[in-house]
């Protein structure tokens, strides 16, 4: 019994799974996470998940891009190699803006991809970490930390009552399917 790390309740129906979450919460059993093959409205609020901070990350990446572009153009066009283009001053800000804009978008896009990889452990070459393979296909899985919630039979009962088709006991956190 002590080797079990996670109890997984596998549901075939999202409404039953939402019901299962309610049941567990009513009995003060903390839920580790829920895995679903599709987005479900209102599940973040129910699980009390904090809002993603990816927008802040995006802003930081974007502003870095803006600054890099400005610094590069300023160095090239104003400090290092002044070129007379149509009699304009070297520091002609409107000319800078398209490049600043493009680099903002580029940095933001790459930064967001990297952030996404980092937060989901999806780096190329790394085996994906999944608790239950069928959560990527047709099952809605509630994962309960078995170490924190000792009364496993109670959890089993609650999940079964809510309509779980299958209860699994994982001795490792993630299964690898390499």
């Amino acid at each position: 019994m002590s080797d079990i790390k996670y109890i997984l309740g596998s549901f075939g129906d999202p409404d039953e799974m939402m019901h299962g979450i309610e049941k567990l919460q009513e009995n003060n059993i903390s839920i580790h996470d829920v895995y679903t093959p599709m987005p479900i409205h209102g599940i973040e609020a129910k699980l009390g998940i904090k809002r993603s901070r990816i927008d802040i990350a995006a802003f930081c990446f974007g502003i870095t891009g803006t600054c890099c572009a400005f610094a590069l153009i300023y160095f090239c066009a104003v400090i290092d190699w002044r070129v007379n283009i149509g009699g304009k001053p070297s520091f002609a800000l409107p000319d800078f803006i398209p490049i600043m804009f493009e680099l903002t978008v580029l940095f933001c896009a790459f930064g967001m991809v990297l952030t996404y990889y980092a937060s989901t452990h999806l780096f190329p070459g790394r085996a994906p970490r999944v608790m239950d393979l069928r959560a990527t296909d047709d099952r809605f899985v509630i994962a309960v930390d078995a170490k924190d919630n000792v009364e496993h039979s109670v959890i089993d009962g609650l999940l079964k009552d809510a309509g779980a088709l299958e209860i699994k006991y994982n001795e490792r956190k993630y299964i690898s399917y390499e």
Partner: protein
């Protein structure tokens, strides 16, 4: 709020303070225009006509973009907006009135030589006349009075017919139910969008750009399209928020506002993009026949030039970037009002330098009064048509999606 306690026959009552204020606004507007015509000289008349053109154009643009909003929602088969469609429908229903006012202002200005005198004056196209202008003569195939007025009437007429059709389909849907009206709306929306896309740039070239007929910019049409579309979205947001505060349309939730906020945010940036694309090319190429446009605005309208960018770009970008701000009705209302005023400034510095002689422009009773008058007229006409039918299109096939809309 659940869907079971929605009153599907809820109707807006247009009475009390709002009605009084809108009528007072119209009277103030008429008084200001009358002051401009009777108290002033020729220059004052030009300025009054420029203001009338500005506000009539703004009024027509907001209403026809309401129709555009409807068409976009039908073509995209958007579900989120199904429960708020009565507001753009009320705007679309007002378009015929706005169109008539715009055509009257334009023809009156044209025939009294107060507007478009740059290409409409005696001898401009006659090679033997001292007034002969070879550029205008070259453009006279396109810029002549019958063709010009014909285009205005045809374009505004087509937009008005489609507006009335969309509104009628929706009312029929209320009575008959079923998918027939939706299918018809979809089909006509496709046709309308193609026509609208090709004709609005020409409409903007005619109405505004031809005030300075020597100058031209191919970006101008899209620049105006962006302006009218974003100001219309801001108007829809304002009407929705105020209706919700007055106790109507309680099914409109923060997610609907969030969507509108995203639209306002996105299209403000689109407006800036097009504005900047036009500015940058002219700045970079530095050709005298093109730079003359920005020279005038930078020399005589510097304050308005920068205020325009501040109100239409900086304000929405900084204030609507945050998710919570789009969902808070007070903040969205504030930004919508700023954007709406900002596009007045935008149109002001598009129209004034071409319509009024340098040094005679200003900002005073005529500007404020005309604007208030048209706001009153818009409020009166739109709210009157809004009060005629229930506030929800109860048989719209995607209504449930809209009532449960959540972002």
């Amino acid at each position: 709020m659940g869907t079971h306690n929605i009153n599907f026959s809820e109707q807006f009552e247009f009475t009390g303070k709002v009605k009084t204020l809108s009528i007072v606004g119209i009277i103030l507007g008429v008084a200001a225009v009358g002051y401009g015509f009777f108290a002033g000289d020729k220059i004052m008349h030009e300025r009054t006509f420029a203001n009338l053109l500005l506000m009539a154009y703004y009024f027509a643009c907001v209403c026809m973009s309401g129709t555009f909003f409807l068409a976009v929602q039908y073509v995209a088969q958007a579900g989120w907006s199904a429960s708020i469609l009565r507001v753009p429908q009320a705007m679309a229903k007002t378009l015929p009135i706005a169109a008539v006012i715009l055509v009257v202002v334009i023809s009156a200005g044209l025939y009294t030589h107060n507007l478009y005198h740059h290409w409409h004056a005696d001898g401009l196209t006659d090679p033997n006349s001292p007034n002969y202008d070879s550029l205008i003569a070259g453009k006279s195939v396109f810029l002549n009075v019958p063709f010009f007025l014909g285009r205005q009437v045809v374009f505004l007429g087509i937009y008005s017919i489609f507006s009335i059709m969309f509104v009628k389909f929706s009312y029929n849907e209320d009575l008959a139910g079923g998918l027939n009206s939706y299918r018809k709306s979809f089909k006509n929306a496709c046709i309308f969008l193609v026509i609208y896309g090709f004709t609005t740039p020409i409409f903007a070239f005619d109405t505004v750009m031809s005030l300075e007929a020597h100058w031209f910019s191919t970006m101008f049409g899209w620049y105006n399209f962006a302006a009218m579309w974003v100001s219309s979205l801001a108007t829809i947001a304002i009407i929705l928020i105020l209706l919700r505060r007055a106790g109507y349309m309680q099914w409109v939730n923060n997610s609907h506002l969030h969507n509108l906020g995203q639209f306002i945010f996105g299209f403000s940036i689109f407006w800036t993009y097009v504005w900047f694309a036009q500015f940058l090319l002219i700045y970079y190429a530095n050709m005298p026949e093109e730079t003359v446009y920005f020279y005038k605005r930078f020399e005589y309208y510097k304050f308005w030039f920068f205020l325009n960018l501040a109100m239409n770009f900086l304000a929405p970008v900084l204030l609507l970037m945050d998710r919570d701000n789009k969902r808070t009705d007070a903040k969205l209302l504030f930004v919508s009002i700023v954007v709406l005023l900002g596009h007045w400034v935008d149109y002001y510095q598009m129209i004034m330098p071409g319509a009024v002689e340098e040094g005679h422009n200003g900002f005073g009773i005529i500007e404020i009064g005309t604007a208030i008058g048209f706001v009153g007229l818009f409020t009166f006409t739109v709210l009157t048509s809004l009060s005629k039918k229930p506030l929800i299109a109860k048989n719209h096939p995607l209504l449930q999606e809209s009532l449960h809309h959540q972002l």
